[in-house]
Symmetry: C2
Subunit: 476 residues, 2 copies
Amino acid sequence: MRYSPLLTDLYELTMLAGYLDQGMHERPAAFDLFFRHNPFHGGYAVFAGLDTALSYLEELSFNDEELGYLESLNIFKPAFLSYLSNFSFRGSITAPPEGTVVFGREPLLTVEGGLAEAQFVETALLNIINFQTLAATKAARIKLAAGDATVLEFGLRRAQGPDGGLSGARAAYIGGVRSTSNVLAGMRYGIPVRGTHAHSWIMAFPDELSAFRCYAKEFPDSCILLIDTYDTLKCGLPNALIVARELKEQGHDLVGVRIDSGDLAYLSRQVRAAFDEAGFTKVKIVASNELDENVIDSMRREGSRIDIYGVGTRLATCAGEGGGALGGVYKLVLIDGEPKLKLTSDLAKATLPGRKKVLRAVAPDGSFILDLIALQDEEILPGTVVFDPANPVQHVRIPEKARLVDLRRKVMEKGKRCVPTPDLESCADLAAEQLKLLPEGSLRLVNPHTYKVSISSGVNTLRLKLMNRIQNKYRS
Amino acid sequence: MRYSPLLTDLYELTMLAGYLDQGMHERPAAFDLFFRHNPFHGGYAVFAGLDTALSYLEELSFNDEELGYLESLNIFKPAFLSYLSNFSFRGSITAPPEGTVVFGREPLLTVEGGLAEAQFVETALLNIINFQTLAATKAARIKLAAGDATVLEFGLRRAQGPDGGLSGARAAYIGGVRSTSNVLAGMRYGIPVRGTHAHSWIMAFPDELSAFRCYAKEFPDSCILLIDTYDTLKCGLPNALIVARELKEQGHDLVGVRIDSGDLAYLSRQVRAAFDEAGFTKVKIVASNELDENVIDSMRREGSRIDIYGVGTRLATCAGEGGGALGGVYKLVLIDGEPKLKLTSDLAKATLPGRKKVLRAVAPDGSFILDLIALQDEEILPGTVVFDPANPVQHVRIPEKARLVDLRRKVMEKGKRCVPTPDLESCADLAAEQLKLLPEGSLRLVNPHTYKVSISSGVNTLRLKLMNRIQNKYRS
């Protein structure tokens, strides 16, 4: 699927026109894409969207319709439109693999190239990485809350547009929600698809039992019956038991029943007891209705008997603290070899200048101790002292026994992918594995432990030097 | 742009397979698409997405790749796949024009056709209408809060995927936000595009003044300078004043300055005073940074001097009460001429059965009195008694002087559009006009007046009859 290069903010184009006119467009530059705070007031984020972003970059070019539209705006000179007609992205991208657990302030993508090309891709990269990373993180929270139960994503109808449902399902898979109702996501990304029937199926028949029987006849080996259309306990449950017995007589097993309204925790216990008593201990209970990690967590604590959670709206739209958006930003950190800083009145919000690497200190048992943002060429060894980015007086020492792992690698050179693209399953496996290696409190849904992200002495010193320089220049 | 027919939930396909096998697929059916509660706990919604939905319906068909994928799932019979290879939507759609102000419980789309085709389109229609109606409503709230000030949408980088930004910009235009930074939305929908430069433009130059000068030279007649990179009042403002004077000497006018951080209301007053004092009374002040209707409203009350609000994240993701989703649903209301009801334990949530119309009682001065959901063939005259859908004992009389307007019309027959598609500007004009005709309290941001949506005696009686029938059958 081609992304139009016009999927961008107009200011990227006006800036490009300016850089071209000034002869600045090919000056070597580097931008960092990062977010400042973990989404959902949580303890982590799951990085996703890289493969989508790389496809966008590889295919970036303007067609005649797009150039004609830009011409029609009457704000660009012919020389600029001619430049765009040959425009492509020939820069490099450094990034962690999708599924990596990441944290606020860490450079996710570093984009290096000519100033024009590296600037131009800002909007689309932010759009792709912001949303997929947010959705993967939401999915991880939901899957962790569900424990060993299966989670099914079926939020397409409430997603923010078709792509919200589609790339949302992709990201949710990476985060740990490994099946979807979205058939297009199944075809495009190979995600297992699941689904049964709606209330309207029941209502299209003269009564519930004939609707159940008919569905069981159609899909005798994959039958899940929706039992809450008229009355879950008085009507849906007894009818489902009749069908379970009939299927059994014919040599099939009812796979499950779904409850979509009422007190799901209470109903699940009643339904479980009835099926168990009738000898159908393997019939699964599917529950849905405005679920998210908090609802699932509290139902599980209460002893609900739900085997599969169907999660729709609140996963698809990444509902929760943060208003459905990851606040990723894209900042110039280097131009012509000169490190750059975006100053703000709040030290915690000032950017980290220069070309950097992200290291993870890992204990001998594999668990994660802290992350460190260091200058690209800085030597970092176990035992090194590192600093709090929000408070340069605070520092800690990397434990001597720690191993330091570089989280990122160059994934694109000269506009072409330079490493094989991992399949989606490997990305999901990576996320699941890394989430287990976090300090336990980091997974808490509310008020989690703050995983430490430090900056190196090199970054700390450079930042303070640039701050002083700017302040002397502009604020005196 | 083609929407894949696989942009759907798997259960639509499993149900279709069942209907086909049962010979039920061509039984005449009608479904209503509606939401129960106005979004954002607000007093209204702005209907949007219809044209997108009609394009989807007109082009609906399965290609070989899609059929091959469905075959690979090994759950569908060859006869069903063969049926799908000739599948298209040949039904009819009744709907209000986009831009119509609508309310909870009102049927927005009524889809009539064979049971299979009318059922199948559920997921995609909900996806399209839910999001665009939500985004149009959010935009209307923001535009109303901004009063006479201009609002610019620039949320693409934080939108939920590329389409969230694109169809979001379309819907925002209908709701009243009539310019965007999104260039693709400009090309595709003819929305005016706007934009200037980012902080990185400033940082790419040795100092702020040379960055400003260079931008002004590039775009002398459309120059808006971002003045908060280093220090808004000490640095950005004086430099912008220098450039304003230089532009003036060359016969041009500085269009404006943008403030993207800090106390926007305070800064806007300081900047306004400085420009006014220097004789630049027409320089506009643009403000941005996590704005929404509530922030804009409170800044205006405080006497801010902002001419243009740039609204990004919170508009693009429809942040606010409701978690970024409109809870639209799609319910079977008629099959084989028999009205159908989806029962729930809560009367307020039970659906309204049968083929219906939505009438608006309009006062002689044009203002809206109440809406009424009546049976399609029911005669409704001024003076008629109508009922509260959540409490059938509550009733009011339609004023004798009211005029009754049918809000909807048939827009598609036999799968083809049957009325001309209004342009986006007309839709936005319709919304703006209708919002003025609401009871004033309905526009309130918090705790608005509840606009009355009644049901007719015909709908009320039919609903109670069907409820009794179901309860006697299943709950005795």
